[in-house]
Amino acid sequence: MSPRDTSYQAVVSRKNEIMKAAMGMDYESFVQSPIAFDYERMMRETGYSHEDIVRIQRETKVGDTPLFELRNITEAVRKTAGKGKGARIFVKDEAANASGSFKARRASISAYEAAKKGYKGIIAATSGNYGAAVASQAAQRGLKCIIVQEVFDSRGVCQPEIIEKSRACEAYGAEVLRLSVGPELFYVLLRTLEETGFFNASLYTPFGIRGVETLGTELVAQVRERCGKDPDAVVITHAGGGNLTGTARGLGIAGCANTRIVACSVDLGGLHMASDRDFNRKSFTTGHTGFGVPFATWPDRVDVPRNAARSLRYMDEYQLVTQGEVFYITELLTKLEGLERGPAGNTSLTAAVTLARQMGRDEIVVVQETEYTGAGKHHNSQLSFARENGVEVRRGDPADNVPGKAIVIPEVLDQVRGKVQDMGKLRLSYLRNAAKAHPVGLWTEGDYSFLAADLKMDVAWVKKAIKELDN
């Protein structure tokens, strides 16, 4: 092969050809316009049935995780909830998957597909649990693995949670490319895909999202068996949108039509995700609004031409919680329920407490994930690191939280209240982004139908909303 120009501009300009070679998948055949594409056909043409996915996942220790009822936390909520209020809270213990999080579901089908297509290795750009998941699945499928991570700031200081994730990836036999702060992680991913000819296990492919559908079908079957009814609400930690999209699709497969799909993110408003200074002032590296809001309001900002994770297509509500609230609930889960799990995975449990307080005692709210914890990831480790980096940590009213400046841990459970995010504003923000991608004057009926489906609204709503945006 002749030496190619590996400068930033040159590599990024070869993005489409690199991705095509690295996935063996041609997105062009699904594209209908700069906005619209045939989403359902793209998801179908992965070539795997739901039963295939279950079987593939069982081969590599993924799925069939326990569903636990959190009786003591439910009791604690009922003590201060109104009369007849306080829904039963259940949690799906996704930490039981190989590599310790639901991300194993997301990695499993990509690793299977890569091996089937004859790739020698697999690459993912991620600083989250997904890295360990890909490394663990690659190890089991006999594939080489490279994980590209954003790990340290310009002082060389590493986020403790991400160090733990680097360690886990290396433990599973992966090569870990550790980078300083910046979105050019994507450039390093492209360059490495080109150098190696490996498979791109992007978080946002149909394989990744289809793999999460089993989480939804399993939890519905477990709740039906245990309670003889469907869950009333499922709460899902939301960042890139794949967890929500895959789980909600699974609920759909199980025929669960009336369950509320509730997204939840940690509010990190005011912190810049690409800022070297802000990097180590965050106590959450995922499940936060820095990903959750931009990915909801424009999914196609990712490392593949069209994103299979489209959260607003499935989301009914969006709750925000503070870092302090999540740390409080993480400690409460440990002390009251005897389960020590990672804080990022407990984001949705925090929102579930607020929801349960408003719901009837005969209702069921399911928290659909946990993640493993340990050195670096543990909430004590995160809080101690925050303090070392000049962030104030104290008990008090969580309304006083200021991301990057103060983490206020509630004094009592009743102060865990969260905050509702305005869905209307999110949908309008999505439409503004769509108008930037493709001028409104050029939108066809096909574009309007796609946008309506992508926003879980109807075409009349989209037309009215876009008119109001124009004025």
Binding site: S7, Y8, G121, K144, C145, I146, V151, F152, S154, C158, P160, I163, E164, S166, R167, E170, G173, A174, E175, V176, L177, R178, L179, S180, V181, G182, P183, E184, Y187, V188, T196, H272, A274, S275, D276, R277, F327, Y328, E331, L332, T334, K335, L336, A375, G376, H378, H379, N380, S381, Q382, L383, S384, F385, R387, V393, R394, R395, I409
Partner: protein, 94 residues
């Protein structure tokens, strides 16, 4: 600093993009810094800290950079005690 033997597990560092080569959309603080990459592997020749070297990574790829650390270790921990957490969930016991 003594010579580090061939075959030792080491960490190397390489500047991927100088500040002026970085993506145009970065916030100001990040734009002033280079994009730096660190990776671990087995050293292919005897060398000293700071030398330009090549390593063979865990999956057998050969990568080059400046030798930074011999036997790089993970020292992340549970942090120093955060007393604010200790009294959560034990209210009933007190």
């Amino acid at each position: 600093m003594g010579l580090i033997a061939k075959g030792t597990w080491v960490e190397i560092e390489e500047t991927i993009l100088r500040p002026e080569e970085r993506a145009p959309t970065l916030p100001e603080d990040t734009r002033k810094t280079p994009l730096v990459m660190r990776v671990s592997g087995f050293l292919l020749e005897d060398a000293s800290i700071g030398d330009a070297v090549t390593v063979s990574t865990m999956i057998g790829r050969e990568l080059s950079g400046r030798l930074r650390v011999a036997n790089p270790s993970y020292s992340h921990s549970f942090g120093t005690i955060v007393p604010e957490l200790l009294t959560i969930g034990t209210e009933a016991a007190r």
